[in-house]
């Protein structure tokens, strides 16, 4: 039961990672990375590491995604205001 669950989650994980790498749009790939982080938290729960899963959900999925979004908004906003 557990091993089947882990296998399914791991396949999803690989899918999310591939999406993060292969999407052309950076916003899409950042969203995929957030999904990837959340799936990581789920895998940690199945691997009997609830404390790590909490940290991963807050830091890995939440905080890092927000860092990326802030970076993206700062870099693309600057690009628009600049005359080409």
């Amino acid at each position: 039961m557990e091993s089947a669950l882990i296998s399914v989650l791991l396949v999803f994980l690989l899918g999310a990672a591939s999406a993060a790498v292969f999407f052309d749009s950076i916003l899409n790939s950042i969203i995929s990375l957030g999904v990837f982080g959340a799936l990581m938290a789920a895998v940690f729960v199945v691997y009997q590491a609830p404390d790590v899963a909490m940290a991963q959900a807050v830091v890995g999925a939440g905080l890092i995604t927000s860092f990326f979004v802030v970076t993206l908004s700062k870099t693309s906003a600057g690009a628009k205001s600049e005359p080409e």
Binding site: E2, L13, S18, V21, M40, A49, D51, V52, T75, A79
Partner: protein, 113 residues
């Protein structure tokens, strides 16, 4: 080499490939995050005992062999935080770079130099 290990290897290589081939700096940071995540998974997998319980003590402490190893989990926590710090620093450098050059693309940066 189990299925889980294969996936971890796949994630590591995927991240590495992303770092090597992408030209946008933000995508390179994404690649590094995936590489690091694969190592975190390996750490937690190392601690895992099939059918084990989380390493949390409660009055009726179960059989010690049935508890997953707490040390790698503590290490994973530390590694997650270190990874977040590294990501934050790298992204802040990218923002600064964009302020100077107006781009986050490596190819365009090379031309400017």
């Amino acid at each position: 080499m189990t299925f889980a290990h294969l996936i971890m290897l796949g994630l590591f290589l995927l991240g590495f490939w992303c770092v090597l081939t992408e030209t946008d700096l933000i995508k390179i940071v994404v690649g590094f995050n995936i590489m690091e995540a694969s190592l975190l998974l390996l750490l937690v997998k190392m601690a895992y005992v099939p059918g084990g319980r989380p390493p949390i003590l409660f009055p009726a402490a179960p059989d010690a062999a049935k508890i997953v190893d707490p040390i790698p989990q503590a290490l994973t926590l530390t590694a997650i935080v270190i990874g977040a710090a590294t990501t934050a620093l790298m992204l802040s450098l990218i923002v600064q770079l964009h302020r100077h050059y107006g781009t986050t693309d490596l190819d365009e940066l090379r031309e400017i130099r």
